[in-house]
Amino acid sequence: MPDTSDNLIQVQGLKKWFPVQKGFIERLVTRQRQFVHAVDGVDFNIRRGEVFGLAGESGSGKTTTGRLILHLVEPTEGNIIFDGVDMSTLSNEEIRRMRQRMQVIFQDPFASMNPRMKTGDAIGHSLEIFGVAKGEEKRRRVLEMMEHVELTPAHVLYDKFPHQLSGGQRQRVVIARALMLHPDMIVADEPIAMADVSVRAMLLELMVQLKREFNLTYLFITHDLATAKYICDRIAIMYLGLICEMGTLEQVYRNPQHPYTQALLAAVPVPDPHARRTAPMPKGEIPSPITPPPGCRFHPRCPIAQEICSQESPLLQSVPGDEGHLVACHLVK
């Protein structure tokens, strides 16, 4: 069990609003500026050595949260504390240094690789950028890492270009590249969503194994709750820029408290025709993050909404009698 006081990442009151681009005339006519409330005040901690899942549908703000943590976009409000250091106090150079300790894996390995760069050079690029190693030393380290991620035979694949690799191999290259600087943390944004079923299982297994070997902490961003189950220790469910429920995987999956979480879990198609879903689905789709509904953001679709739900925004609070399990719902008592 990871030490509970030992947080690698603390996210406090994090917000990111993107201004809405308007046409020229519209800008003249309307004074009011509009914003996409991509992330609208989230708090969570990621403990050293855990896999923290961030799940939700498209438009929930999970990817933006990941990008904020990597400091790829500036927060509108709130703080990100990485290993005790408030990121907002750092200079650009210090943030660049910090990136050695925080790496990212994106969904589409083909899009995140330079098509003209050989596998080995791509994996070892960060060593050169940060002046860690070059030449023969770089090659040695890259080959070693390629063995770790089972990119074998390493010396053959070293000189291949991305288009010569299979989808699974490409994602292994991206994983190897992320690990070269021995980071503390990896933000994995839908890392296996593009892979085929049989490759998916292999990549998941690899990620779990590497986490142990390299003593990593993961932020695992996914829309796929079934996949999250195989890797996450704790999970937060996001809806329209806010966390609606958070807890250990067991707590959230076995005993979901928020009506949205319940619907989301019920909606996942189960690979068993005996277990066909009978639960009705909430109506409609996720509303626009430009004008999120007042009160609880889920209330227009919620099957059990009361009057209070459309008026007051519920806070993320402990579920009584279930330590560490938090939910933002007026109706959970």
Binding site: S166, S198, A201, K229, P269, E285, I286
Partner: protein, 321 residues
């Protein structure tokens, strides 16, 4: 009892490329009966979408049908000329694609799409009549009447996909081919869509070929399931026996590697290797290099696809000659 709508006999599709010929669909035979949902599953590159496009005679060049028969309501589609095929498409066989945004004309309103579909096949129908039919259809799909004159970009992803079903249903097609219809949808919207598709299917006794890589979606909706690998059918059976007791080692491996949300489930099992390069496929059974049960003869002789138990087909030497 079961009336065949579509019968494929030894259908093969080739893609000639610079480096060699890729056999995208290899000698596929199967029957689709009226009123059933046939799930067609497999990993990317297995030929499931190519098979769907071949039935519609909509293969992208250089892909072409090199053998076999596609018998639809007693008529071999391969023998039809372009014009006859055009009359069939949309009216008798319809298709629903993965990404509704690229299939709808961004400059046409929802109503125009439906009216165009109806009038193309029935030029005698007046515009007002067609619009009325469109309104009824839209209503049946649970889209509010005032949305009928919206443009595709004004609709949500789920609504767009419902418009696509609407277009498929507009002329009461005998067969609907749905190619990854829920892949671009979020999970709750996907569930809503599947509910609706199931309701419509029961209500109108629709015949659907559901092409998908998502095993969960197949389990949710299909009556029978066909499993494809490297252009070949590996197994075909009713959905319950297929999931309860898969016969082909590939089906077994595939089902065991699917993430399941139920917490009772244990670890995922990993299928080693990856699908073969179809320019240079392995001899014998295409799955033998990855097969845990491979025998000597699997390496050289290709197993026939045949009925190994009543109602269950498989291409595997484990089930004898």
């Amino acid at each position: 009892m079961s009336e065949p709508v579509l019968q494929l006999h030894n259908l093969s599709v080739d893609y000639p490329t610079r480096v060699g010929v890729v056999r995208g669909v290899d000698n596929v035979s199967m029957t689709v009966n009226r009123g059933e949902v046939l799930g067609l599953v497999g990993e990317s590159g297995c030929g499931k979408s190519t098979l769907g496009a071949a039935i519609m005679r909509l293969l992208r060049p250089p892909g072409k049908i090199v053998g076999g028969e596609i018998v639809f309501n007693g008529q071999d589609l391969i023998k039809l000329d372009k014009e006859a095929m055009r009359h069939l498409r949309g009216a008798h066989i319809s298709m629903i694609f993965q990404d509704p945004m690229t299939c709808l004309n961004p400059l046409q309103r929802v109503s125009d799409h439906v009216v165009e579909t109806i009038q193309t096949h029935h030029p005698e129908v007046k515009k007002e009549e067609a619009r009325e039919q469109a309104a009824k259809l839209i209503d049946r799909l649970g889209i509010r009447a005032e949305r009928i004159d919206d443009y595709p970009h004004q609709l949500s992803g789920g609504m767009r996909q419902r418009v696509m079903i609407g277009l498929a249903l507009a002329l009461n097609a005998d067969l609907i081919i749905a190619d990854e219809p829920t892949t671009s949808l979020d999970v709750i919207v996907e569930a809503q869509f599947l509910d609706q598709l199931r309701d419509l299917q029961r209500q109108f006794n629709l015949t659907i070929i559901l092409i998908t890589h998502n095993i969960g979606v197949v389990a949710e909706l299909a009556d029978r399931v066909a499993v494809m690998y490297a252009g070949k059918l590996m197994e075909l059976a009713d959905v319950f026996p297929l999931f309860d007791d898969p016969l082909h080692p590939y089906t077994r491996g595939l089902l065991n590697s699917v993430p399941n949300i139920n917490l009772t489930e244990d670890n995922l099992q990993i299928m080693s290797g990856s699908p073969p390069d179809l320019i240079d496929p392995p001899p014998g059974c295409k799955f033998h290099p990855r097969c845990p049960n491979a025998m000597e003869r699997c390496k050289t002789q290709e197993p026939p696809f045949k009925e190994v138990q009543p109602g269950r087909w498989a291409a595997c030497w484990l089930y004898g000659e």
